[in-house]
């Protein structure tokens, strides 16, 4: 666990951030993409009224994952702190929102829901509260995170996942225990993101199409904030911290404070992701937030390229959508067995594929999808003119 080992948390991650400018899409292209994504529910609603909800729901799940993945890539790729606790902070966001927004006494008809408490706060307040509580949890972790480094930190943070699951199973008043509890619908200034009928431009808007916009807006906000943080003074401090804690402290970066800052900010991202995830599920159970979720977040940012915000978005989309797509088309995919048959089902195949993607990318292209994307223009320019020694070196 030498200084060098921690610092070189993939030199490619450095290029992903530092050299990201050249590979990044222009502002116009990015705004265009957001507009296109915003039009999807309308387009889907006109083309395929029956099957639209599958796509919309997949989208909302992907948005939730994107926000949380941005937080993790900030921490692991940006600040060089390995964390396996991300699903814990996502769970905090999800449960905090649910608890803050639920009615004081259970309104449900079942016995289980009558013992569940809540604060009955307006949902936007609950959302902000959930993000803050998740951030506070990240801050409270800082006595540990500031002492530990590298792998020790990774495994210690893994402990949080199990502690979190334990709490979620036992704190029935908050979490509903094993059976979980319902998540109150989001309601912004009288506009309810629920399943009440709504028609926009002749298109029937479902609950998921409304959540689509909430998710998209949150992703845009999270992305813009990420880019601004990383390009500003804190971002430079975090990158310095990643490359060498000693060098950072010599340069006047307060190592303890910036580690705490990175964990807090990353957990706030996780918290917001958790709120959207809870809304997408509509009913949350503790098992959702286990080790598997942590591993899939790690897979997202590795696939996308550590430290690259765009990569985190692509990775999150890939990891979230893959099992859903495979499941939807399992009938027409010859190599997939039907669910429950014990063969290679869609869920199993998805695990294989993204496990393999993590391995292959780390072995062959540590910069992930972000680096692959940067290669395309470079390849194109190499085809136009004879290879230059410097570009070859860079490619290696």
């Amino acid at each position: 666990m030498s200084e060098v080992a921690v610092s070189s948390l993939e030199s490619a991650a450095g290029t992903a951030v530092a050299g990201g400018r050249s590979g990044r899409l222009s502002l116009v292209a990015r705004v265009g993409m957001v507009v296109l994504v915003a039009l999807v529910p309308l387009a889907l609603g006109t083309i395929d009224t029956e099957g639209q909800d599958f796509w919309l729901q997949a989208g909302v799940f992907a948005f939730a994952a994107m926000i949380a993945a941005l937080g993790l890539t900030l921490l692991v790729g940006g600040a060089g702190q390995l964390s396996l606790a991300h699903s814990f902070f996502v769970a905090i966001g999800a449960y905090a929102y649910t608890y803050l927004a639920s009615a004081t006494r259970g309104t449900g008809t079942t016995i289980a829901s009558s013992i569940q408490g809540g604060f009955g706060l307006p949902t936007p307040v609950a959302m902000v509260g959930a993000v803050l509580i998740a951030g506070l949890a990240g801050l409270l972790f800082s006595p540990i995170s500031s002492r530990l480094r590298g792998i020790y930190l990774g495994v210690a943070s893994l402990g949080l996942v199990f502690v979190g699951l334990h709490i979620a199973f036992n704190a029935q008043k908050v979490s509903g225990g094993f059976n979980g509890r319902d998540v109150p619908d989001f309601n912004l200034l009288g506009f309810a993101f629920d399943s009440s009928p709504l028609s926009v431009l002749g298109v029937n808007f479902t609950r998921n199409s409304k959540l689509w916009y909430l998710g998209l807006a949150s992703v845009v906000l999270a992305y813009v904030y990420y880019v601004n943080v990383l390009e500003g003074r804190p971002g430079r401090a975090l990158r310095c911290l990643r490359d060498s804690e000693v060098a950072a402290s010599v340069l006047g970066v307060n190592v303890v404070r910036y580690k705490a800052y990175a964990f807090t900010l990353s957990s706030m991202y996780a918290g917001l992701g958790g709120v959207i995830l809870a809304l997408a599920y509509h009913h949350i159970v503790p098992d959702t937030f286990g080790l598997g979720l942590t591993v899939s977040f790690l897979a997202m940012i590795v696939i996308g390229g550590l430290g690259s915000p765009g990569g985190a978005l692509v990775g999150a989309l890939f990891v979230t959508a893959l099992p859903l797509l495979l499941a939807k088309y399992s009938d027409s995919l010859p190599f997939l067995a039907p669910t429950g048959s014990g063969g290679v089902t869609a869920a199993v195949a998805a695990q294989f594929i993204y496990g393999a993607a993590v391995i292959l990318l780390l072995v062959f292209e540590p910069g992930g999808v972000a680096a692959l994307a940067r290669r395309v223009p470079r390849l194109a320019s190499r085809l136009r003119r004879p290879p230059h020694p410097s570009t070859q070196k860079e490619a290696a």
């Binding site: 993939e10 006595p143 480094r149 792998i151 893994l158 591993v295 294989f352």
Partner: protein, 298 residues
């Protein structure tokens, strides 16, 4: 008091199994500075192979164990040669994350094969119980302690006295100098991985034997509880792995045993206890009890 002695003894027997797993983590870490997140799936695969051979194909149990251990060692060897080696010179954290990918694939496959079944190992101990000095101990756990003792003694003797052990320690101390002295780092790393894989399979045998119900889809997760054992002993300390394993084992069994007095912690707190102990130790000693403290040179 009688309960307490019984719990401690049970804890030590469970802890000796954890020690085998933790030693695997440490050996790999010393040789390659990588933390092997695929340990649990190697364990599960080994135990699965043993169960299929012994219970379904009626191979003699001890032969099946040998084969299962060999299969687990082979898997570890393949991971080392095929993947860890190709990533030589890269950040150890990247390599460690890569092993999470390996774990995902191997675990998914063993889980798929096991399904919802609970597989029996076909071991000769079955649910036998031995009474020793007023303690009631499952036969399998007696074997676990005995086997762990033999393996650990053999390992430490080998590590201390054989030239290979010296080479391994030298490479852990300073891999660059060691390789300049003519120590073949590739071989060291391969042996470390195979050894860790084999240890995981042996631990797998005792984790699935009585008093456990058998091999199910979550057996591999136990390796995750050996993680704290390795960490709290110090990731680069072989002796620490053993101490850590025993501590975690005792802490877990005591928490489970006195559960009725600890209701405020919630049900099943024993599953979380290893992590709580680990975090408590790490807060005081950030590199574990016996881990090498980092010295920073500027």
């Amino acid at each position: 008091m009688k309960d307490f002695v019984q719990f401690v003894f049970n804890g030590l027997s469970l802890g000796s199994i954890y020690a085998l797993l933790a030693l695997g983590f440490v050996v790999i870490f010393k040789a390659t500075e990588v933390v092997n997140f695929a340990h649990g799936s190697i364990l599960a695969l080994g135990a699965y192979a043993i169960s299929r051979l012994s219970f379904n194909s009626h191979v003699e149990f001890y032969l099946a164990v040998l084969l299962g251990v060999a299969i687990a060692g082979l898997l570890a060897f393949i991971i080392e040669r095929g993947l860890v080696r190709t990533m030589a010179g890269r950040s150890v954290i990247a390599v460690s994350i890569m092993t999470i990918g390996v774990d995902l694939i191997v675990r998914t496959e063993t889980t798929r094969r096991i399904g919802v079944d609970v597989l029996t190992l076909g071991d000769p101990w079955r649910d036998g119980i031995v009474h020793v000095a007023g303690l009631t101990v499952p036969t399998a756990r007696v074997w676990a302690i005995a086997t762990a003792l033999v393996i650990l003694a053999a390992f430490f003797a080998w590590f201390k006295f054989s030239s290979f052990g010296v080479a391994m320690r030298a490479s852990a101390e300073d891999s660059e100098t060691a390789s300049l002295m003519g120590i073949r780092m590739g071989r060291i790393s391969a042996v470390a991985w195979v050894l860790a894989g084999a240890l995981a399979a042996v631990a797998g045998v005792f984790l699935t034997a009585f008093p456990s119900a058998g091999l199910d889809a979550s057996t591999g997760d136990v390796a995750l509880r050996a993680f704290p054992a390795a960490i709290l002993g110090g990731l680069d300390s072989t002796g620490g792995a053993v101490v850590g394993g025993l501590m975690i084992g005792v802490a877990e069994v005591l928490t489970a045993g006195y559960q009725s007095n600890l209701t405020f912690l919630g049900r099943g707190f024993d599953q979380v206890m290893p992590y709580v102990v680990m975090v408590a130790v790490l807060l005081v000693r950030p590199t574990g009890l016996f881990g090498t403290r980092e010295a920073t040179r500027v």
